[in-house]
Symmetry: C2
Subunit: 504 residues, 2 copies
């Protein structure tokens, strides 16, 4: 019933995943009772429409030979995934609870267990595995060992003939990153041209794909907006599985789920996926599962604020940054320029047990003077300062596209004689992991004049600005207007930041 199942099944059909065999336990019961109260579609016909081969086993309770035959048939179909619908009785064997939803979520209870054992003529003690069953399964041990030996011998031969390819495969299997992989990440200076971080991101993606054999991914039908195409590769399709640009279609939920699957398949596979930042709302469930299952997926989320402009409030994230900072087990990164974007990708690749989300701008941003790879690794750091003795008059804290505004305002305030520090808080989770001394060196508790500026809701910023500080942000939905206009209307400007500083 869940939409994500249809998204994923549609992709599986499109890709012709012949090795995939899915069993559909057709027991007609869901938690609320008979499935007939909410689910009357023809499931096999739907899967056929999605390009699957389908088989129906009508007696799933005792039709063992039919099940075996279905599996055999499914294995023989190599150009399509197969759905085997197996009609069963839920709680089969229980004389009083079979076919009812009460066996879905509750234990049978000792009395009914007894009655079921009797009904099924099962005389053994609880948890006892009869010898006959043990013997039956034991032969899989030898079988497995011989299959492994066969594979190892084949691979040894392959390694001799194809050294380069074997090394690549080994790297994917082991997860060991090639030496010096991060030297491939682009470097920028303040003189590098202004650019959108989504474009800078594409430079990183292409650089990483060149040096990491298991680096692959794609977008949910927004590749040319998200800037996620790997230029030296073609599309991953049915007949070109060696290519690395995955075309997910408009299926954000399945995209996240597929990337989780890729990440847990092999430690050396590093999947990324992409859409507009606001559409993380469509894929919160797989992002959370990514965190829970420690899958190091890289979520490349562009158009990360009202700065995307005319598409308006449905496309403008305002609460997404905080809603994801609140999620345990992930890194939420919002880089401000080329140096920070490269640094964010470095963090994302290193963190193989923790997913990273990169929030990237649609609009052009200048290359800033004080940004650094080492700083980003600490989550928060000083990018400019004219104070002495770790005691500025004022601290401006910002992330991403608003860091430029903070820098400009600081420049003007310094001209007026103030000592002002600007802090980039690019990744709150990493900053929180730093030693207290470091945090204190960036945000000295003595300095209570603090202002944050970020194009999103302000709830949560109290953590860093304190009760005497002020937060400039957007505590409402956005609006449809060109980026410059809407920044101005909503007060995300150098002028407003300076006025706020003077009002403290």
């Amino acid at each position: 019933m869940e939409g994500v199942a249809n998204e994923a099944a549609s992709l599986a059909g499109h890709w012709g995943l012949g090795k995939l065999i899915a069993f559909y336990d057709d027991n007609h019961i869901s938690i609320d009772g008979s499935t007939a109260i909410a689910f009357t579609e023809d499931v096999l016909a739907r899967y056929e429409a999605l390009g699957w081969h389908t088989i129906w086993v009508q007696n799933g309770n005792t039709g063992y030979d039919d099940i075996r035959a279905a599996i055999k048939e499914a294995k023989e179909v190599k150009d399509k995934p197969t759905l085997i619908k197996v009609t069963t009785t839920i709680g089969y064997g229980s004389p009083n609870k079979a076919s009812t939803h009460s066996v879905h979520g509750s234990a049978l209870g000792s009395k009914e267990v007894e009655a079921t054992r009797k009904n099924l003529s099962w005389a053994h003690e609880p948890f006892h595995v009869p010898d006959e069953v043990k013997r039956h399964w034991a032969h899989h041990l030898d079988e497995g060992a011989s299959l492994e030996a066969e594979w190892n011998a084949k691979f040894a031969e392959y390694e001799k003939k194809y050294q380069h390819e074997a090394a690549e495969l080994n790297s994917i299997i082991s997860g060991k990153l090639p030496d010096g992989w991060d030297n491939a990440l682009p470097k920028y200076t303040p003189e590098s041209p202004a650019d959108a971080t989504r474009n800078l991101s594409q430079q990183c993606l292409n650089a990483l794909a060149k040096v990491i054999p298991g680096f692959l991914g794609g977008s949910a039908d927004l590749a040319s907006s998200n800037m996620t195409l790997l230029k030296m590769f073609g599309d991953f399709q049915k007949d070109t599985p060696e290519e690395r640009n995955i075309r997910f279609g408009v299926r954000e939920h399945a995209m996240g789920a597929v990337c989780n699957g890729i990440a847990v398949h092999s430690p050396g596979l590093i999947p990324y996926c992409s859409t507009f930042f606001v559409f993380t709302d469509y894929m919160r469930a797989p992002i959370r599962l990514s965190a829970l299952s420690e899958s190091g997926v890289i979520f490349v989320m562009t158009h990360d604020s009202i700065g995307l402009g005319e598409d308006g409030p449905t496309h403008q994230p305002v609460e997404q940054l905080f809603s994801l900072r609140a999620m345990p087990g992930i890194l939420m990164l919002r880089p401000a320029d080329g140096t920070e974007t490269s640094a964010a990708y470095r963090i994302a690749v290193i963190n193989r047990k923790r997913p990273s989300i990169l929030a990237l701008s649609r609009q052009k941003l200048p290359q800033l003077e004080g940004t650094s790879v080492e700083g980003v690794a600490k989550g928060g750091y000083v990018i400019s300062d004219n104070s002495s003795g770790n005691k500025p008059d004022l601290i401006l804290i910002s992330t991403g596209s608003e860091l430029e505004i903070a820098e400009k305002a600081a420049g003007q305030l310094r001209k007026e004689g103030k000592s002002v520090r600007v802090v980039s808080l690019v990744c709150w989770e990493l900053f929180e992991e730093q030693p207290e001394e470091y945090k204190e060196s960036v945000l000295p508790s003595e300095v209570t004049s603090r202002i944050s500026i970020e194009a999103g809701v302000t709830l949560g910023w109290e953590k860093y600005i304190g009760q005497k500080g002020k937060a400039i942000g957007i505590d409402r939905f956005g609006s449809s207007a060109p980026a410059g206009r809407i920044y101005k209307e909503l007060g995300l400007t150098v002028e407003n930041l300076i006025a706020t500083a003077k009002s403290l």
Copy 2:
């Protein structure tokens, strides 16, 4: 491609929505190019499997008669929804851009507009509507007026014959709530038995359905866990559209979307929908649209914390409260007992332009002494206090199931001579809307000894506890264990709260 479309289409087929006619613009182009790169299923066959009637118009560019015939056929099919697949050329008429994805998101440009006009022999000025076209549409004015008059006459007759039913219909059309509707909400005293707020919620739902004719809703296959069944009504199904229990199946995203549709259909229809709180992750997009489109949907979200117990971290929300508090335009309510649950429903019904989310417990909670309907209406209020001069030694702030812990800890601390205030912050958004004097009377700025306790992430609590306060919460995923055990392991206990108070 989006999963929610399949969820919704499956429900439409199940319900046999004969009035629904959907057009599928089959132009073979998506943003990333040809749909063939990601979408090769047989769409009409899929919709047939979902129980739809389907029609294919092969020439959607100029086949006007075919389109008319398809609509006529679709209207005649009254027991099924109809999908009309209309094969078209995207950018039809544009000599250089037709059939390309460049016409999806960008304007043609003046040169290509010129070429297109020429190609289509369209000689008129931009934005000019030729008289012939005006005349053609003008007859709809009379047609509409006569249809309206016909309906009004019919309704006047109906009103005479069926006074009661007509009044109900008028109430649904106008949105005027029956006088004294909120007297129906259950009342509780501290002596009322302890109960889970999900059970207390069911009492409210049933009380409201009795007095409000347009009150209806259901659950995503968790009705017996969410406690959302309206006992005096049957199931809303194909042949029983007068009933009010909607069976959404396991389709959270479509459930939210359907409820948005119900809410905007008539001001007097008040839809509620329900699942486990953690599964708001599956339906953030419709919740956000509910807020953006000012649809007063009531989201009944049970099993609202680690207190749900054994189902473990996949089912235990920790970041959801905060992630929804961050969303503009909604009310996030977390009531602590019967009085607060009734009061929360009162707020939810009154707010017809703002969706409400109710976070409700699976576990039993006692009826507290100081909770009140008036207090909940202000979002935050003092539920117990032994201080004088608005200057307690300590303020404990909490919500929902943890308010009991705060009350118990306060009781013990008071015995040791401390003056302690306990504040229920049941709805942050409503509290923020109160005048400064009121907020100051609840949380006097002079008192910096503050502790929050809530079974969720602590991010955001700095807003109310300040930098000298402490937040007790859960900054990690939960665990599978009985509720009592996991509360203890994660430090959500009276003992820990008292120890924290003493460490301030």
